[in-house]
Subunit: 290 residues, 2 copies
């Protein structure tokens, strides 16, 4: 059997193209309204991934001509104190979007805190209302990681009819992604840490989306050679970022693969600003109502 | 091969047992608070299924000592007029729960109208907020049909580890069910009308949950003999109600099956009142906040 090397999906290139469109749209909308779009990130604690991700957004905000502020409350902040802070940002008309960086320290409930953000300022789309709008086919602000995967897949419309497995059931990736894919006529399977045998799903799938959080988890024994492998995993090995794939194995085996870094990540950080633009437009169109 | 006849899951019996518990709980809570739980059903149009379902709830309300009112606005009511009506019920402290019977006439958006009901009065749990609470693992009021399927499956805990397929992607059945099952550690696949080949999912599944809306859709060629077949379909054939199964074929073939009528239906109508009880308790515990 001849193994052609995989097509390596270039997430940075896709992200750059979205950035160009967004820069123009922000300029146009900000000029038209005379207002500045503003994203406030709330980073609590010392999680390495969360810090990196917030810095990526600050850099992208600069490129887009959009204000991004980083608030770093003390790690010991209580839910009541954080609620006051969120309440002030919610009612501040200069704040377009609010995002709590995930994960938060264990004494805080991420979903409870996110539900304090009004749905039209909930920039990562993880509040109950925005999640439920996806379920009810009324998508508005959607979790950016899920949106990034949808964006990649949209380049291969024939995959809509394929067998597809998501290996993740979190509210930031697997769950909204499953619902967004159903909205786009995909048939889906969702596996997770309690699935007895993930391989019986992944081996027959032509699309596998993995956010397992284990480096070298998927190799050519678990994946079929026609597979488009979307790697959402972010793992740190010897100070380097790596995905869930045994990349050296899969890149010689599968049909397409997203690298880590340079795959899903840059698109995700960019689509945060697509949400910000939607929120900005919504708030300016509906300013009389709020 | 020996075909043992299927275990026929008796939904009416399960429903009766839930009714007994609910009757006691309503009595206790209503006595304690000196208040009456009250459900308002809004039925618009002449859909046969919706009429039947509202009558079933009125009968069950009587048995539970709970007030159930049926409002039948004119079929031509506009979204704006309906919004006013819902707003009045939302702010009426004597109204514990509101439910818009599905389907509504085509000029009305079911999801838009349901989103006008406060989440704590949204008795079928189909508003964005309640759907999103399921996604975020904060289940409160949940769609009763999905809850009925979960209740049936909970009697067979070994099925948590099986291969399970839902054939439906609507916001009232397949979607909330997929999320509720993920919350309970099931691995799920969701098929629908755009799935190229449903059989490659159903034939290897040990649990199939069908809400296709086509009589005689599933027979022994499409289902494996170890299957627990949950039939959520409601079809009218020659004036009789029937499910999605070719029942005569499957009842001799599968391991377990729910009949139609007498399977999922009575449990669904009962679980509406489990939601009403939750809403009643929530409103009385939180009356200072509303």
């Amino acid at each position: 059997m001849i193994n052609l090397p995989a097509e390596i999906i270039d997430g940075s290139k896709i992200a750059d193209s979205i950035m160009n469109t967004l820069r123009d749209s922000f300029k146009e909308q900000q000029d038209k309204t005379g207002k500045q779009a503003r994203l406030v990130l709330i980073l609590i604690g010392k999680d390495e991934g969360a810090s990196t991700y917030s810095r990526a957004k600050i850099r992208r905000g600069e490129k887009l001509g959009v204000r991004v502020d980083l608030i770093k409350p003390d790690e010991s902040i209580s839910e009541a104190e954080l609620a006051v802070e969120i309440g002030q940002l919610a009612s501040d008309p200069t704040v377009t979007g609010i995002m709590i960086e995930n994960p938060v320290p264990k004494h805080l409930s991420f979903s409870k805190m996110t539900d304090l953000i009004p749905f039209y300022k909930d920039i990562d789309g993880t509040s109950s209302t925005n999640q439920g709008r996806i379920v009810n086919r009324q998508e508005f602000l959607v979790p950016a990681t899920a949106a990034a995967v949808v964006r990649i897949l949209s380049n291969y419309p024939e995959l809509t009819k394929s067998i597809l497995t998501i290996v993740n059931r979190t509210p930031v990736v697997g769950r909204p992604l499953s619902q967004m894919l159903l909205n786009r006529d995909y048939t889906i399977s969702v596996c997770h840490s309690k699935t007895p045998d993930v391989v019986i799903y992944t081996r027959r799938s032509d699309v596998v989306i993995s956010a397992v959080g284990k480096p070298n988890y998927f190799d050519d024994e678990m994946i079929n050679p026609d597979c488009t492998f979307i790697d959402v995993g972010i793992n740190y090995v010897d100070g380097k970022v790596t995905g869930d794939a045994n990349y050296q194995s899969l890149v010689k085996w599968v049909k397409r693969i997203t690298p880590v870094p340079g795959g899903v990540g840059p698109i995700t950080a960019t689509l945060i600003f697509e949400n910000l633009l939607k929120a900005f437009n919504y708030q300016n169109l509906n300013s009389g109502k709020m």
